[in-house]
């Protein structure tokens, strides 16, 4: 039995449909990330599970029990606000042990859990400090500690690392996942950061404009996106517009404007269809060991950007087909430079084929 189950959940704010027929099951002990842009409905979803928002339609079950009419404090779930709300007149220790204390746990137990979570968020040495004496990042971590110490089984985390420095976020996200797993909690973690979702989640749900775009393992979301939006939003992609000109058992051939051909393994469209091919920059290999096989193009490096650990290349093939490639830097001396001729290739199995969207490709992928 899933721990949390949403059936047909709908929520409107005026004319805006914040949640549009959401179906979701969360297993006991699962770490689920909800990923989407600002305005996708992520926070509304979380607050609906918490009981802070009443859905207009649909049903919410927690441990098999219908909880639509159960108030937030009686649900076994704690919602952690994006903007941490600590008690300003209490020190760190009292803030963290507040939940366990009012639940009348015995003193030893309160002490154990409070020191454990403070250790986890690396604030053991600041337990006597008041919120006003801490940095924003530290306050966020106290709030996190308090939520975990509350004893609720389900943690609803709304951008829990959002206020932190990028570097600290990387350290903390691993610990957050480990803590949820060690304490056998269930977490629903809302974020707009795809890397954070990919690194922490057992499963990811991608939300867009109130609708579920895709639910799956991080590797599925990344490598087998079900829509152009997911392909673009998670890890970016090269998009090529074209038409299917040939199809057999092993795949399809797509004719791309400028007279290029791309081979893809998928065979679920028809000859003549207008399509979009998506390829992740990390699947585009520069100067591969072998030049045999499909999808091998000669081009010139137009620009390269070092992003720390990996290198992003813009390669121009022929008269102007642009291909982006991203590669881990393993030998900084031998990197191709702008102006240099290179070969790029990508495997047909790494290409995703989509029907050409009615509203146009740009509409599906624009972020700004």
């Amino acid at each position: 039995m899933p721990l949390v189950k949403l059936v047909n959940i709908t929520k409107k704010f005026g004319e805006i449909i914040a949640l549009d027929n959401i179906e979701l099951s969360i297993e006991d002990g699962e770490y689920l990330c909800v990923l989407g842009q600002t305005g996708a409905g992520k926070t509304t979803l979380l607050r609906t599970i918490a009981g802070l928002i009443r859905p207009d339609g649909g049903e919410i079950f927690i441990e098999g029990e219908l909880v639509n009419d159960v108030p937030p404090e009686e649900r076994d779930a704690v919602y952690m606000f994006q903007h941490f709300a600590l008690f300003p007149h209490m020190n760190v220790w009292d803030n963290v042990s507040f939940g366990p204390s009012i639940k009348n746990w015995d003193n030893e137990q309160v002490k154990t859990i409070s020191s454990e979570v403070l250790e986890m968020v690396r604030l053991s040495d600041r337990q006597d400090a008041f919120p006003s004496e801490l940095s924003g990042g530290m306050q966020q971590r106290v709030a996190l500690a308090r939520g975990i110490a509350s004893g609720a089984k389900i943690l609803l985390l709304d951008e829990p690392l959002g206020a932190l420095d990028a570097r600290l976020r990387v350290d903390l996200r691993r610990q957050l996942r480990r803590l949820v797993k060690d304490q056998k909690l269930t977490a629903v973690h809302v974020t707009h950061d795809q890397e954070e979702a990919l690194m922490t989640a057992d499963r990811i749900m991608v939300l867009r404009k109130g609708k579920v775009e895709q639910v799956g393992l991080p590797s599925e979301i990344y490598s087998s996106p079900k829509s152009i939006f997911v392909a673009s939003f998670v890890g970016n992609a090269n998009f090529f517009e074209g038409n299917v000109i040939e199809m057999d058992n092993s795949g399809s051939t797509i004719w791309i404007r400028g007279d290029y051909q791309i081979r893809v393994s998928q065979t679920d469209r028809k000859v003549g269809d207008k399509v979009v091919v998506a390829v992740k920059p990390t699947d585009v290999i520069i100067n591969p060991d072998s030049h045999k096989g499909k999808n091998v193009f000669s081009g010139m490096v137009d620009s390269s950007t070092f992003v720390g650990g990996s290198m992003k290349y813009k390669v121009i093939v022929g008269d102007g087909m642009v291909i982006f490639s991203e590669a881990l830097v393993s030998n900084i001396q031998e990197l191709p430079r702008p102006g240099q001729e290179v070969t790029v290739s990508f495997h047909p199995a790494r290409c995703c084929l989509f029907e050409y969207p009615e509203a146009g490709l740009l509409k599906e992928i624009e972020a700004i």
């Binding site: 842009q37 600002t38 690396r122 940095s135 924003g136 990042g137 530290m138 932190l164 420095d165 990028a166 570097r167 600290l168 350290d171 707009h192 950061d193 795809q194 890397e195 990919l198 690194m199 991080p218 590797s219 990344y222 490598s223 939003f233 998670v234 890890g235 992740k280 990390t282 699947d283 950007t305 070092f306 992003v307 720390g308 650990g309 990996s310 992003k312 590669a327 881990l328 830097v329 393993s330 030998n331 900084i332 495997h347 199995a349 790494r350 972020a367 700004i368």
Partner: protein, 366 residues
């Protein structure tokens, strides 16, 4: 034209030294980023240059002229900060032309300037929209245009992309750089996001506790950081404790425990010195290890982030290191508990003196 020079700049808040003897020169038309953990003094630094606060000690020069007595409005500075601060009741056009307007510039002079700005940030079609009708990214671009219209030559950016979604942030950062380069401005950009700094800057300044740790090009900071703090703060790194057992003119051999030795290009270290050995996970070769600098161990965990995999390997000395690789599907996968051997080229092994305050403190982000 503007070159910015800080000489011995210090600023205290009570007992805290937010800026502690900062010396820094930003060259004309250079794009410089300042990174560091929160509380390191990066915002204080940029505010000192803007003239929003005044240093307790030291001097700031813009184009060789001391600006100690030059008020903010006369420094020809454009300043953009994290919280998008557009006037909500004014449309984009009025927001952008606000500065020239209050300075009493006539319409016919303001108009071409504003048109140029709108064109540059590619929102000419939305000039009549109000801020709330625009996305966060577009609002922030408008804020940049407003900062630049008053003939600013120096652009100060304090976490300009901090309030935006990751995806928008990534796209906008390249636009910012392009804008600065096209307009031939000098830019100082404060950010907590090292990747942002690395990908758009000519030079990156790393700060910690009010001081500059080091400054350098993105590639040099990444491949040859001068300090362990930088190695940890910029990108990922493995840190191993060891003792130098052998040196030649150009190489050192470091024993990292349990009989495991690593060879590195030699720095200043001497035999018997306690050191920290550092290498990047992406420099660890998993598939075809070379003959020198092999490390064998047991796979503890395999982590995915998109197409990159991190293999966590426990060495015989009980330390766990990370090795990174693209998760190419025609290469073998790794199982937990499996034995693996990696190698690291001596070129990519860095050696640092063991920090006096201990390794943990030396790397601490707070």
């Amino acid at each position: 034209m503007p070159e910015v020079k800080l000489v011995n700049v210090s600023k205290r808040y009570g007992r805290i030294k937010a800026n502690d003897g900062i010396n820094l020169t930003i060259k004309d038309k250079e794009y410089v980023s300042v990174i560091g953990p929160s509380g390191c003094g990066k915002t204080t630094l940029i505010r000192n240059i803007a003239g929003i606060i005044h240093p307790d000690e030291g001097e700031i020069f813009i184009d060789e002229e001391s600006v100690s007595n030059v008020p903010i409005e006369d420094r020809r500075i454009g300043y953009v900060f994290q919280n998008i601060a557009l006037f909500p009741h004014m449309n984009i056009w009025d927001n952008i032309t606000y500065g020239p307007h209050v300075r009493g510039l006539p319409q016919q002079q303001t108009r071409p300037l504003a048109l140029e700005m709108l064109d540059m940030i590619k929102i000419a079609a939305r000039s009549e929209a109000y801020p709330h009708e625009l996305s966060g990214g577009t609002q922030q671009k408008t804020a940049v245009a407003r900062a630049l219209i008053s003939d600013a030559r120096l652009l100060l950016l304090d976490e300009p992309l901090g309030a935006l979604d990751v995806k928008v942030r990534t796209e906008l950062r390249y636009e910012l750089r392009r804008l600065v380069k096209d307009l031939r401005l000098t830019a100082l950009h404060v950010t907590h996001d090292q990747e942002e700094a690395m990908s758009i800057s000519d030079r990156v300044v790393v700060m910690k506790k009010g001081r500059i740790v080091e400054a350098g090009t993105p590639v040099s900071l990444y491949t040859r950081p001068q300090h362990t703090f930088t190695a940890n703060f910029v990108g990922e790194a493995n840190f191993l404790k060891g003792i130098v057992v052998e040196t030649t003119a150009d190489t050192s051999v470091v024993d990292i425990g349990s009989g495991v030795q690593l060879r590195a290009n030699r720095g200043k270290e001497t035999v018997d010195e306690r050191v920290i050995v550092v290498f990047r996970p992406e420099f660890a070769v998993l598939d075809k290890p070379i003959e020198v600098n092999r490390l064998s161990g047991k796979v503890m965990d395999v982590l995915y982030s998109g197409s990159i995999i991190r293999v966590m390997i426990k060495l015989p000395n009980d330390e766990t290191i990370a090795a990174k690789r693209i998760a190419s599907f025609d290469k073998p996968m790794y199982d937990v508990s499996e034995s693996v051997t990696i190698s690291v080229s001596p070129d990519n092994v860095l050696v640092y003196p063991y920090p006096e305050e201990g390794l943990k403190k030396a790397l601490a982000l707070e």
